[in-house]
């Protein structure tokens, strides 16, 4: 148990004033694990929403939120702090504070960037009426958003944020992530069914079909990483990707041959589908199903679905980082970080993980605002006829690599082993490992192009390629 586990024990013991009972433990868990998690992820997800709006605006060449600044929230804070003073004194103090040059500049920029927008949106959302349609199955309808949130938040418990910041160390954390994030399917189905609306029902059905299908490539992709690393413990997987020296980047799983790179692609695409992002947003396809499973939701409950979606996006980003991009480790030189005081190291690690997550997050937004949506059958075909075979191929490739390169396969046989040293690849198999599959891929792509390629000349004229 790392620091946090210890903190729970201490707090529980203190609360109970002796050996802790279940109530004290629950309280301690809430205080130490759940509250910080919520406090961390909620604002980040809310901020994700404003980020998305700004990015969408940039892609569509408009301004996006550009008026709501942080002035209002700041004034509220002032009033709360100075609540004993008369109103004019508060206002005067506030005005004086806002006149300070750095504050003024900061507020100006907060307005320009629309940073206050999510506060405004949040308040608006809280103020909306919570409507339950007459034909709805009330209990199911009301409960679904909570379940979605639970499904979106639980996986974070086992995610290693830093070397000393894992809320729940377990040996099967990869499995835990897969299992808990599956809860969202149930929530979407409940929302779709409980709404008593045919569009919602269709959205719910689509969600179930899509999520269940994409669990398979995601599971296979995680399985590939597990196979390579010989462990199901996410923290151990991160540790596996450690490489000494300056180029720690080379130790990351994504650099361990084309099969893992392929797995990264499979995982990312399937991850997009798992959090219902475009081009896989069939379940809420606005132009087809109005809004799919959340058509009938309003106010806070709708907000929970939105929050769950953003949390899931962040989760996929964090998982991509953890499984393939070295987790919380820095890309250039890891050792110097370890020399720092523990708190600083933890902070930097968490920030690095955050940065990697953000990159994936931004990529997802870019894709959403660029691509059209798949059709139902195309989504299914992509899962079963493209992603699953690719994942299986990668699994096979990884297994063969492990055999050839002399890595042990004990991991496969016994489930979880202690993290074993990475297979030692001398240069020849390394070269073969990269070159042969890459060549094969190039040949395949060229053959496909020769057979099917060649756009119609009219299309070339339209895109300005011809002429």
């Amino acid at each position: 148990m790392t620091g946090l586990g210890h903190a729970v024990d201490t707090l529980a013991a203190w609360l109970a004033g002796g050996p802790p009972g279940w109530f004290a433990v629950t309280l301690a868990v809430l205080a130490v694990w759940v509250a910080p998690l919520l406090l961390l992820v909620f604002p980040v997800a809310a901020f994700g929403q404003i980020l998305e709006r700004k990015i969408a605006a940039a892609i569509q060449r408009r301004k996006g939120p550009n008026s709501a600044g942080l002035d209002g929230p700041l004034r509220l804070v002032f009033r709360a702090v100075l609540c004993l003073l008369p109103r004019e004194r508060q206002d005067r103090a506030f005005a004086a504070f806002c006149n300070l040059v750095p504050v003024r500049t900061a507020l100006l920029w907060s307005r320009r960037l629309g940073l206050g927008q999510f506060v405004a949106d949040g308040i608006k959302m809280l103020g909306k009426e919570d409507i339950v349609p007459r034909g709805a199955d009330g209990a199911v309808f009301r409960f679904a958003p909570y379940l979605a949130l639970v499904g979106a938040f639980l996986p974070w418990c086992v995610l290693p944020f830093a070397q000393h910041l894992v809320m729940l160390e377990t040996e099967v954390s990869a499995l835990f992530v897969l299992a808990t994030s599956g809860l969202v399917v149930v929530a979407l189905k409940m929302a779709g069914w409980g709404s008593g609306n045919k569009w919602s029902l269709l959205g719910g059905m689509r969600a179930v079909a899509q999520l269940v299908s994409y669990e398979v490539p995601i599971g296979l992709a995680v399985g590939g990483v597990v196979l390579w690393c010989g462990t199901m413990d996410l923290h151990a997987i991160v540790g596996q990707q450690y490489a000494p020296g300056v180029f720690t980047l080379l130790g990351w799983n994504v650099c361990q041959g084309p099969f893992l790179l392929l797995l990264l692609l499979v995982f990312f695409v399937a991850g997009l589908a798992e959090c219902q992002r475009s081009p896989f947003d069939m379940a809420e396809a606005e132009s087809e199903l109005v809004s799919g499973f959340n058509t009938e939701y309003s106010g806070l409950r709708w907000g929970m679905f939105a929050l769950a979606e953003y949390t899931e996006m962040l989760l996929i980003g964090a998982l991509v980082a953890t499984l393939f991009l070295g987790g919380y480790q820095s890309p250039i030189g890891e050792q110097w970080l370890l020399l720092l005081p523990t708190w600083l190291e933890t902070l930097l690690h968490a920030l690095i993980l955050g940065a990697k997550t953000l990159v994936v997050f931004l990529l997802m937004m870019w894709i959403r605002w660029t691509l059209p949506r798949f059709r139902v059958d195309q989504v299914m075909r992509l899962a079963w006829l493209v992603l699953v075979p690719l994942a299986l191929l990668s699994l096979l490739g990884i297994a063969v690599t492990l055999l050839v390169a002399g890595g042990t396969t004990e991991g496969m046989a016994y489930g979880r082993l202690a993290a074993r040293p990475r297979p030692d690849l001398s240069w020849l198999p390394w070269l073969l490992l990269w070159i042969v599959p890459v060549l094969a891929a190039v040949v395949l792509v060229r053959a496909a192009n020769a057979r099917y390629g060649g756009r119609h000349p009219a299309l070339r004229r339209l895109t300005g390629e011809g002429a």
Binding site: A56, I59, Q60, R61, R62, K198, W199, L202, M205, R206, S278, P279, D281, M282, A285, E286, S287, E288, V290, W369, T370, L371, P372, R373, F374, R375, V376, D377, Q378, Y452, G454, R455, H456, A458, L459, R461, L462, T463, G464
Partner: protein
């Protein structure tokens, strides 16, 4: 692709798509009987936007009907104005005493604004189609260009949507100062912009595969079902009223007519949704070319620059108090295809019957036929590919 519905009729789900639905382009209602995701049968329900325009036509004087034509198709009001005015002028021409000669400059301006409006109308069509398929960004890029056209029209006639600009006998105002340079500059940047647009969405694989082979209408079907305009050409029929039954000065211009050729490649078939979509884009290119050609043809302004008609507006008004008796049918090429006016005059100052046949009406008539067996998600793509504008259906 087409899938046969397998569930017996009693177990199907009836979905009410519209009249308030994000993708039905106004207030179109389609009752869809679906077998899960597959459309087993669909029944369009029209009339939510019926404003009895043909009845109004029998109640107002000849020139007073022009603003109503704006409302028949407000996405391309210039073309709608033009269609009615050309028809009335043809009717006036049946008697040499009442013949109205449109000044050449006005003719050129008419073609110019009609083609600009065709561009902006097609921008809505292709943008909305991309949006129905789930790509939001191209629509906004298209709208930005449409706004530029609207800016030009606003300077020209003070309106951004319903222009009431083309009048019987000419146009309402001459081009404003600097209009030619403005339009030329717009066309230049617009061409580059469209290339970006096309790279963004037209050649996108997901978009292409969504539309390839969808709602295929072959040439014979398209003719029999009365499809017109880009929908007809998308099916491979080489026919354009601007070239084949030219009106105004279209006869002097070299109108090239694009037609569907299974642009989507391997999965595509001639007359599928992708063909209709691409034909519109090619027509945009053509319109740009025609606009440039017209700018070359434009004669210098008349002495009284405010009145390109050279002062015969009053004369036309007098003629329109007694329009020769008879019937006339004139069709013009609007962005949504043939806009045909069947006008009957009893010799008075009010039309006896004004009938406007629009492209969207027959396209909507085809929905029941082409929407059988497609996926629910494609219903909106099909609506988008036929580019129906509801006020044109309901009138």
């Amino acid at each position: 692709m087409t899938v046969e519905a397998s569930t017996p009729a009693g177990e199907r789900m009836t979905l009410n798509m519209g009249p308030h639905h994000p993708a039905t382009h106004g207030v179109l209602r389609i009752v869809v009987e679906s077998d899960g995701e597959v459309v087993a049968r669909c029944t369009p329900d029209h009339g939510y936007l019926h404003r009895s325009i043909e009845k109004i036509g029998e109640c107002v004087e000849w020139p007073m009907f022009v603003p109503y034509t704006d409302r028949i198709d407000y996405v391309c009001a210039m073309n709608a104005n033009l269609a009615y005015c050309v028809a009335v002028e043809r009717l006036l021409a049946s008697d040499p005493a009442t013949t109205v000669v449109v000044p050449r400059r006005a003719e050129c301006i008419r073609v110019l604004v009609a083609e600009l409006n065709r561009i902006s109308s097609h921008l809505i069509a292709v943008g909305a189609m991309a949006m129905d398929v789930g790509a939001y960004t191209p629509f906004l890029h298209g709208i930005a260009q449409r706004e530029a056209v609207n800016d030009i029209f606003e300077k020209l006639c003070g309106q951004r949507l319903t222009y009431n600009y083309v009048t019987i006998g000419g146009v309402a105002f001459d081009l404003h100062d600097g209009a030619v340079a403005e339009i030329a500059a717009f066309l230049d940047q617009f061409e580059r912009e469209m290339q970006r647009f096309n790279r963004l969405v037209t050649t996108n694989t997901i978009f292409r595969d969504r539309c390839a082979g969808l709602a295929v209408v072959d040439a014979a079907q398209a003719i029999a079902w009365g499809l017109v305009g880009p929908n007809l050409r998308g099916s491979g029929v080489d026919f354009d009223l601007r070239r084949d039954e030219s009106y105004g000065i279209y006869g002097e211009l070299d109108v090239r007519v694009p037609k569907g050729e299974a642009f989507a490649g391997r999965h595509g078939r001639q007359g599928d949704a992708y063909d209709r979509y691409v034909v519109r884009l090619l027509e945009i290119q053509e319109s740009v070319r025609l606009c440039r050609a017209v700018l070359q043809l434009l004669p210098p302004a008349a002495d009284k620059p405010a009145d390109p008609l050279g002062g015969h507006q009053a004369e036309v008004s007098k003629i329109l108090r007694k329009v020769p008796k008879g019937a006339v049918h004139v069709r013009t090429e609007a962005p949504r295809g043939e806009m045909g006016y069947w006008i009957v005059s009893d010799g008075g100052k009010v039309p006896f019957r004004v009938r406007c046949r629009t492209g969207s009406f027959t396209a909507a008539g085809m929905f029941q036929h082409v929407m059988r067996g497609i996926f629910l998600a494609d219903v909106v793509a099909v609506i988008g590919s036929f580019d129906v504008v509801v006020p044109e259906i309901d009138r």
